[in-house]
């Protein structure tokens, strides 16, 4: 039932990708996303694909897991594609009443759709190879400079960690309550939307009460162990940059360099090639 939903998409593994410092991975993803906006033509995408393929191969995450990340945004991709295809002015290829597809529109549509696809594939690699806890550790560490401006970075990271930690617990709780109410004849599957929304009350009320109970227990347990926020707190697994992290940095720098060089020197080449082919 509800427990079958796979949550967080971490794919357990022991590849170098899994072991790289999470801070580095977060920065790398940001740079990667920036690179997607530096790229202005299909030649640039060749560089992106090579980079992405290399990283994917190193991570050893099965391709179907990575592609699964595209499913939720499929509608957005189709929407972007259609809109770009129909709204761009230029040399008309096909026309019907007010709708028209132009050569430039088609080019833009494919280009934008691919940009979205690469965006998702690249960033899902981050969550696939990084445990949620490490991710929040990384975010906390990266936000450290903002601490001087009064941002409670440790507390924010702790909140994120706790939220992530309790998602499976709450799902299990929901599953239990659903079953119990079903045993009392509750019906969640039939009726109008209004009826179905009302049918959720017997689940939501106990779930909220349960969530507060869990929160209270956790707060007590943390206080009993003298938790008092981030001031002077050390970590069991402190983040330290290692040799493989240096290698990763070099890789990112090279990738970014090629993307920029391509943008400067090879822009427009793909248009010429397309023109030659068609």
């Amino acid at each position: 039932m509800i427990r079958d939903i796979t949550l967080g998409q971490y794919y357990p593994g022991y590849s170098i990708m899994h072991k790289i410092d999470p801070r580095l991975k977060i920065v790398a993803v940001m740079l990667y996303i920036a690179s997607l906006f530096i790229v202005k033509d299909f030649m640039g995408y060749v560089v992106v694909v090579i980079g992405l393929a290399t990283v994917t191969a190193i991570s050893k995450v099965p391709l179907r897991f990575i592609l699964r990340g595209l499913k939720p945004i499929l509608i957005i991709i189709i929407f972007t594609f259609t809109l770009n295809m129909l709204m761009t002015k230029g040399e008309i290829l096909w026309e019907w009443k007010f709708l028209h597809i132009t050569k430039e529109g088609l080019y833009n549509a494919v280009f934008m759709a691919l940009r979205l696809v690469f965006l998702i594939l690249g960033s899902s690699l981050l969550t696939l190879t990084t445990k949620p806890i490490k991710l929040t550790d990384g975010i906390e560490s990266l936000l450290k400079p903002l601490k001087r401006m009064g941002l409670p970075t440790h507390e924010l990271a702790m909140m994120m960690t706790i939220a992530l930690r309790f998602i499976p617990t709450l799902l299990e709780e929901t599953d239990k309550i659903m079953k119990a109410q079903m045993a009392r004849g509750a019906d969640f599957e039939t009726g109008s939307i209004f009826r179905r929304a009302k049918a959720l009350i017997p689940i939501l009320v106990p779930l909220f009460i349960g969530a507060f109970r869990i929160a209270q227990d956790l707060a007590l347990a943390m206080e009993a162990r003298c938790y008092r926020g981030g001031e002077g707190r050390t970590k069991l697994n402190a983040l330290k940059l290692k040799r493989k992290d240096a290698l990763a940095m070099v890789f990112i720098a090279v990738y970014l360099g090629i993307v920029i060089l391509e943008r400067i020197f090879l822009i427009g080449l793909d248009a010429k090639i397309i023109a030659l082919l068609f």
């Binding site: 309550i177 079953k179 045993a183 009392r184 509750a186 017997p202 106990p206 009460i209």
Partner: protein
Amino acid sequence: MSITVENLTHIYNKGLAYETIALEDVSFTVPSGEFIAIIGHTGSGKSTLIQHLNGILKPTSGEISIGDIKITDKRVKMVDIRKRVGLVFQYPEYQLFEETVYQDISFGPKNLGLPTEEVDRRIRKSMQLVGLDFEEFAERSPFELSGGQKRRVAIAGVIAMEPEVLILDEPTAGLDPKSHQDILNMVEEVHRETKNTIVLVSHNMNDVAERADRVFIMDSGKLVKSGRPQEVFREREFLSHIGLGVPQTTEVAALLSERGFQVPEILLRADDLISFLAERLPAGGV
């Protein structure tokens, strides 16, 4: 109403790398009106088994009939199953949600589509059965009650559906000794009064020994033993091998036998054992 389970197998996450066999080829019959107990330690498949009995889980293979209805048949309406089989989950007080005890107990009967007067009659009847005074509790919020009282309300919510088969999954878990006894006595009382079939899931041998007509022992998804408590608890070594004990009285009787003090038949009730020993011991104590 009788229960018939034939070759029931349930596999979680079938076809995936982490598939686990929760139930393997379980078969048994329970005649109408019998009080049975299912015993097994955590993860032995007890909970999975009982969730099949009212259609919440569907078997991977095998068939289940309640009375003359085959509930594993796809055409069977869920409401027909739930009318017959009531299931009280572990920690049932966590499913309470209404503003008053009265409204909460009415949830089940209302879902059965009963008229208001009938719902009202059933609420009064079930509150009386679980030992909650109607005048005192009906209009109170279930959330301000004590743990034991909350549990009674939750159990009343299932009893009010007047199921002919009542299944309870560890109804005494986490209660203090007094509430523990009260709840068990209440289950016995309900059984006596409504003549329904009872399936009590437990891992406490003492609870089961004195009350159940028959005991089913589950171990790693299989039904490994069944029979009258006297028969089943005779097998002390086997039970301890699968991580279960025997009732305290049986244990005492067995230890006495080992030291050459003949206790003729297996004695399950503490009172029986005490009076038996009292007869044989020299006056003035040991």
